[in-house]
Every structure is written in structure tokens, then in C-alpha cells.
């Protein structure tokens, strides 16, 4: 059971971290710099918010299968495949939500930033710093998607005991065996983790003053 919980955390946190690493600067970039494909990328990011997880799982399965183009990597039925699937699901969420938040911030600060001669990278960094609460919300939304996801990781992971079984896929298995008590136990743990991560991120976003009131 411990491995199941650790694996869930590892897969979801890694996928979310990767999505944040790429999605946060991407979202800010889309707000700050105009380029030819910009509208297409914004449209894509927002459209992919509704991407059905099980479809991502299926597509990745076909790509990673030995008969598929990336079969030689041997990634099917491994945690790496699961992390990849969840990264693909979380990235549009982080990017689209960050972009929306950064757009209004950029409107407010662009004159000062342009006058100060800040480089593109610096603008992005400053915007993300100022809008860190919105950024954290975007990352949390991405994490919420990954930690609760089950369809994609079931397909690309195969729910192998001790290797690719996470809490959500374990819930699927326990339910199919009629062990509702165990299924619910996993469910409560997932909820607990989700709440803990949300609370922690919220506390950090408030800064050190918040702690003196707790």
C-alpha cells in the first residue's frame, strides 16, 4: 500500500512540476510577446483544457506500444509513461490559466516594464512573481487534474501491482473486487493529499505574515 501511495505522489507531483516548469513561462510569454502563431497557441491551450484524459491515454498507448513509433523506448506499462500522460493533461491547464491571469497583469504593468528596458525573460519572471497567487492557482488546478486522474494512467500503466498501481487505479481494482472498504480508504487518502497540497500552496502564497495569524 505504501508503494501505491508513493507512486501516486511521485507521478502526479512530477507531472505537475514539469507542467509548471513549462506552462508558467509559456503562459506568461503568451501574454507578453506577440508572434505569428500566438493566437493559435492560445486557442490550442484553451481548447485542450477539455481534453479527455482517456483519449490522451489511448493516443500515448499507440505511440509507446512496440508497434508504435516510440516502441523502442520500452516505456509502455511504466511510471514514466504515466507521468508523461499526466504532464500532457496538466500542461494546457497551467498554460491557459496562467495566460489569462498574466494578460491582465501585463496590461497594468507593461508601460513600466517597457520603460525599464527589461528583457523578455525578466518581464516574464517579474509578472510571475507579481501574479504568484494566480500562478499557484494554475499549478494547483494542474495538480488537481493529475492526482485525480485514472483513465489515462490505467491504459498506459496497466495497473501492475507494485509497479504502476496508483491510488486511483487501486480504487478501480478494489471496486471491481467488491472491496469497497479498501477502495474508500484509498479515496480518503487521495482527498487528504489533495487538501494538504492545496492548503500548503495557499499558505505559501499568503507569505510569512499569514503564519503569525495561524
Amino acid at each position: 500500500m505504501l508503494h501505491t501511495i508513493l507512486l501516486s505522489l511521485a507521478v502526479s507531483l512530477t507531472a505537475t512540476a514539469a507542467a509548471a516548469l513549462i506552462g508558467l513561462p509559456l503562459g506568461a510569454l503568451l501574454a507578453v510577446r506577440d508572434f505569428r502563431a500566438r493566437n493559435a497557441v492560445i486557442l490550442a491551450a484553451n481548447a485542450l483544457l477539455g481534453l479527455p484524459p482517456v483519449v490522451v491515454g489511448l493516443a500515448l498507448y499507440l505511440l509507446l506500444s512496440r508497434q508504435g513509433p516510440f516502441g523502442v523506448l520500452g516505456l509502455l506499462f511504466t511510471p514514466v509513461a504515466m507521468t508523461l500522460a499526466q504532464f500532457l493533461l496538466a500542461l494546457p491547464i497551467v498554460a491557459a490559466l496562467t495566460h489569462r491571469a498574466m494578460t491582465s497583469l501585463w496590461d497594468r504593468y507593461k508601460i513600466e516594464l517597457r520603460i525599464s528596458g527589461a528583457s523578455l525573460a525578466r518581464c516574464i519572471a517579474i509578472l510571475l512573481r507579481i501574479g504568484r497567487r494566480e500562478a499557484i492557482t494554475a499549478v494547483l488546478a494542474g495538480f488537481g487534474r493529475t492526482v485525480s486522474e485514472v483513465g489515462a494512467i490505467l491504459i498506459v500503466g496497466g495497473n501492475i501491482a507494485g509497479v504502476t498501481r496508483t491510488m486511483t487505479t487501486a480504487i478501480t481494482l478494489e471496486t471491481s473486487e467488491g472491496n469497497f472498504g479498501r477502495a474508500l480508504a484509498y479515496g480518503f487518502i487521495v482527498i487528504g493529499i489533495s487538501l494538504a497540497v492545496s492548503a500548503t500552496a495557499f499558505a505559501f502564497s499568503r507569505g510569512p505574515k499569514f503564519w503569525s495569524h495561524v
Binding site: H3, L6, L7, L9, A10, V11, L13, T14, A17, S65, R66, Q67, G71, L76, F77, T78, P79, V80, T83, G158, N159, I160, A161, G162, V163, T164, L173, T175, S176, E177, G178, N179, F180, F204, S205, G207, P208
Partner: protein, 275 residues
């Protein structure tokens, strides 16, 4: 500034956790066994495979998918060995050159489950085809796997034998595993076919009971098939053969023979005579 430092410190921790959790996937010696859901849901594999792993040091990664999907997965080369129970699909698999050696390793029987109230009055007989006819005549709710599994193939053959095409008003095809099928049958007081092993270890029986059992046509044979090395050779081919040999050999057979849940045998080794 401090929250930022903490965030920076968390990243390596996350990657480390990921590395630790991902360890089994890449470091160890393993084979991928694509199997039916019945041997997985009944817990048989979880109980007997540790003996194989202790003896050989080869970890068995079980992907439980249902016979049809398991054979397809193996045909693609995504599994190293299969454990299935659909003679027709297996024959086709061998004919197409995907598999080479097929050996039966266990048997149990299928049973017809239904609500204790038994509205179609099929209880207590051995003739499952006649029972199917009664269920169809009375339009009693019936849950079907509908997923090209061995159990599903067996059930579809029975409808054919009965000369009936089930109608969706009372015949629910769920496209899911044995457990999902049993959960729905239990919740909706429906009839359904299951292998005895999965049924005995199922924890949500509610008012379902075995109504028809024991006919010779209810026999359920489990076969292990190794793949054609000409098609999909890998560094795991030899280990896959070792697993197949173990399951069919004296140690695997005695593990299957001594496996039981609550005093009941879920699967019979080859040494137990078939009815």
C-alpha cells in the same frame, strides 16, 4: 524570498521521490504477463507468483486485460507471455504465428449467477443453455462482459447454441472486467455468467447466488502461451519461457493446487480430473 527557496528545494525532492518510486520499473529483472481478469481479480496470481519470484528472482508484471485484449497486447509485442481462456481466440493466435507453445495450466468451471429470488426459475439445473432460453423468454435482466474476454466468448457461444439474439432491453453489455460485471449484476439483481474462481473471491455478492453449475459444457480451461521469438524476440524471451515452464511444471501446479480462499478451491491444477 523564503517560499521561493523552499519551492526550489522541493523540486529535487520530487524528482528523488519519482526516482525511488520508478525504481522497480527499470532496475529489476522482469517479464510482462498479459492475463485474463479472472486470474487477477480472484487474487490467484498475487498468491502464487511470489513463489516463482522468490525462486528465480524474476518479477512478474501482470497486466490484467481480458483474453481478447491480452492476446492483442502480446501480438503487438507489449507483453512477453499470455495467460488466457478462450480456445477459439487462442487457436487463431497460434495460427497467425504470434504464439508458439500453448499449455493448459489450470481449470475451473463457469457458473450462472442470479438473484436469489430467481424470477426466470433456472435454479438447481445443470443445463445452462435451457436456462439462457428461460431468461430470454422472461426478459430477465442479464449482464454481459461484452469485452472479447474468455468469459464473454463462452457466454456468446451459449446464446448461439440457444439460438437466441439477446435484446438490449434486458441484456446489458458493459464492455468491462469480471468484477465490474459482478458489481452491476449484484446491484441490479441480474443474471450473469462468471468463472467460479472470481465469484468465490468476490466481496460484494449481495443477493446473488450460483443457480446453474456442474454441466460438462461449463468447463473453463486456462492456457499459458509463449510468444513466437521470430516475431518479437527480446531480452525477456528466456525469462518468459521460464515463467510458462514454472506454471505448467510441478512447482506451479502444486502452488495452484494448494491455493484456496475460505476453504474453497478457486482453480484446479491439471492433476485434478476434469468433470
Amino acid at each position: 524570498m523564503r517560499p521561493c527557496l523552499l519551492a526550489v528545494a522541493i523540486f529535487p525532492a520530487i524528482i528523488a521521490a519519482a526516482g525511488i518510486a520508478a525504481q522497480p520499473a527499470h532496475a529489476e529483472r522482469y517479464v510482462v504477463l498479459a492475463s485474463t481478469t479472472s486470474v487477477e481479480n480472484s487474487g490467484l496470481l498475487a498468491r502464487i507468483l511470489p513463489q516463482f519470484e522468490a525462486q528465480t528472482g524474476i518479477r512478474v508484471r501482470v497486466v490484467a486485460q481480458g483474453t481478447g485484449q491480452a492476446l492483442a497486447t502480446a501480438a503487438h509485442g507489449d507483453a512477453d507471455v499470455v495467460l488466457v481462456h478462450d480456445p477459439a481466440a487462442e487457436a487463431a493466435f497460434l495460427e497467425q504465428g504470434h504464439g508458439v507453445t500453448r499449455r493448459q495450466i489450470a481449470w475451473n468451471d463457469f457458473v450462472l449467477l442470479g438473484p436469489a429470488a430467481d424470477p426466470a426459475h433456472v435454479g438447481g439445473t445443470h443445463d445452462i443453455v435451457a436456462a439462457f432460453r428461460r431468461i430470454a423468454a422472461g426478459k430477465s435482466p442479464f449482464v454481459s462482459r461484452g469485452d472479447r474476454s474468455g468469459t464473454d466468448a463462452f457466454e456468446k457461444r451459449l446464446w448461439k447454441q440457444a439460438g437466441i439474439e439477446p435484446k438490449s432491453s434486458w441484456y446489458k453489455e458493459i464492455g468491462g472486467g469480471m468484477g465490474a460485471d459482478l458489481n452491476m449484476a449484484a446491484a441490479t439483481d441480474a443474471y450473469t455468467v462468471s468463472d467460479r474462481g472470481t465469484w468465490l473471491s468476490f466481496a460484494n455478492k449481495r443477493s446473488l447466488a450460483i443457480l446453474v453449475e456442474g454441466g460438462r459444457d461449463l468447463l473453463n480451461r486456462y492456457d499459458v502461451i509463449t510468444l513466437n521469438p521470430a516475431e518479437h524476440a527480446s531480452e525477456r524471451t528466456a525469462d518468459a519461457a521460464a515463467l510458462a515452464d514454472w506454471l505448467a511444471g510441478p512447482q506451479g501446479q502444486s502452488a495452484i493446487a494448494s491455493d484456496e480462499v475460505g476453504g474453497q478451491k478457486l482453480f484446479h491444477p491439471m492433476s485434478d480430473p476434469e468433470p
